[in-house]
Amino acid sequence: MIGATVWRLLRWLLLLAFAAFFAIPLLALLNFSTKDLATKGRTGAAWQALFQDPTMTDAITTSLLLALFTVLGMIVLLVPTMIWVRLRVPGATRMIEFLCLLPLTIPALVIVVGLTNVYAWVNYLVGDSALTLAFVYVVLVLPYAYRAIDSSLSSLDATTLAEAARSLGASWFTVITRVILPNLWPGVLGGAFIAVALVLGEFTISSLSHYDTLPVVIVQISKADAPESMAAALASLVFAAVLLVGLSFLDRRRHTSGGK
């Protein structure tokens, strides 16, 4: 009896300690971003600047567009390939899985070191813009997208669906886009959420390729206007948190409705 009470108390104390460790730096971020350096009072100027400072709004637009293009690229490249492998080339499953998980083992820093030649061509062919980063971001998000889509695809009898559609005269294009894909949306959406969160926070490749994405600009302006960069850092973290928490609810809905 006494042991159980002590344990319960200890458990809450430990949880409180963890909560403090994780909450204090984030509260410090909030504290710093609302601090008025001149009068020592409180001000929302740094948060207002997020929507008014042209450097900041440009960077936010760039990062959001990058997230959009990365998600589109990921869907166009990965989803048909995975469906195709499942239906027609099951022998290639292990190879595709290996390739998709490879970016977890090759650090982004290494990729950016070797990227010079490839980007010389990319810039020559499609122009020099921060949005070209989407090409390499698609590779970075592959492992996460693969896992999300694979779990969706495994819970589906894709072969039977495809055979039914084919026997009714559907083309392979129709099978993929109108039969299998609509059943995969939870997985695709999950992969897209993680991709957006990753792209909004990506710093390694964009900073070393000298493109002004949101994290790069946050670091740049930190020397001139610390509160504004703190506000932007906190805002992007909260945005990513909302996305990923939304994802966990999506996941739960799938579990409850899919529980046969």
Binding site: L87, G114, F135, T159, A197, F203, A233
Partner: protein, 296 residues
């Protein structure tokens, strides 16, 4: 969970048009070749080339110089200590959550927060700690009053001890994410069986649970090690001058245009990083295979 085994009909058509369906994979393979394989190969080949493109071991042997060796050691210390601290505290936190019912708010909140902090680290976390312990930070004054640290910000934050602290902040959440499934795989029946045979709680933990969890624990720790070793953003945002760890030395040789040929040294340093991460991740894969025997 059990996926329907790849059924016969597609295999039959695949045999008849043995080349046909594989063509569908070409766009994907071509894309990965250009944006993943070519950059990696550039680094691997570039490390063994001189400035004219001929074969040379110059750059690789320069890794033995004083600075790269020192920086590698610091990087290994940072990765090991942040992985060890992160693994122990992360396992503890995972245990605290796993004892709560799966539908509880506590468990859901902790997993969601861990997901965000582990995957969305980078720049934000560096700033969060600057706002806590740097100049004018939330705790700077308190610590100065109680422990007598520098009231203008704790300078160790921008050195190795600070990096360990800041890295721990994303290592603990990552540990929770990767270790939670192993803890969930620990079946209550095993404990009941041990208790039925007369085991005490202590005996159950030391002789049943710990041996079962050990491969998963070590594997997760290796993953944390690789994660810290390859991390760049947090350190880069925290330390703008100098390069005390390997990723920052790579930045330095990548951006320095003063010393000619220094740029290509980044290839050799990246090679070093690939080798370390590859060794650690192979060990991880091997341990994962052993874990899945019992805790799936």
């Amino acid at each position: 969970m059990a996926a329907p085994a790849p059924t016969a009909p597609p295999a039959r058509t695949a045999r008849r048009f043995s080349v046909g369906p594989s063509v569908g994979l070409l766009p994907f393979l071509a894309y990965l070749t250009v944006f993943l394989i070519v950059p990696t190969a550039t680094v691997l080949v570039g490390a063994f080339q001189d400035d004219q493109g001929g074969f040379s071991l110059d750059k690789v042997s320069k890794l033995n110089d004083e600075t790269p060796v020192h920086v590698l050691r610091e990087s290994l210390i940072l990765s090991f200590s942040s992985a060890a601290v992160g693994a122990v505290l992360g396992a503890l936190l995972a245990y605290l959550i796993v004892t709560a019912p799966p539908t509880s708010v506590l468990r859901r909140v902790v997993s969601a927060v861990c997901g965000v902090l582990a995957q969305f680290g980078g720049v934000t976390l560096a700033f969060a700690w600057i706002a806590t312990l740097g100049f004018g930070g939330l705790l700077t004054k308190v610590l100065a009053d109680t422990l007598g640290t520098d009231p203008n910000g704790i300078s160790q934050l921008y050195e190795l001890p600070g990096l360990v602290l800041v890295y721990t902040y994303f290592q603990i959440p990552l540990m929770v994410i990767v270790f939670l499934p192993a803890l969930e795989g620990l079946r209550p029946q095993w404990r009941e069986a041990a208790v039925n045979l007369g085991a005490t709680t202590w005996q159950y933990w030391t002789q049943v649970a710990f041996p079962l969890l050990r491969p998963a624990f070590l594997g997760s720790m290796l993953l944390l090690f690789a994660n810290a070793f390859a991390a760049y953003a947090t350190a880069a945002a925290l330390i703008s001058q100098g390069s005390p760890i390997l990723p920052l030395l790579i930045r330095n040789s990548l951006t320095s245009e003063i010393v000619l040929g220094e740029h290509n040294f980044a290839y050799a340093l990246s090679l070093e990083m690939i080798v370390v991460v590859a060794v650690v991740m192979s060990l991880y894969a091997w341990l994962l295979k052993r874990t899945s025997r019992w805790l799936s």
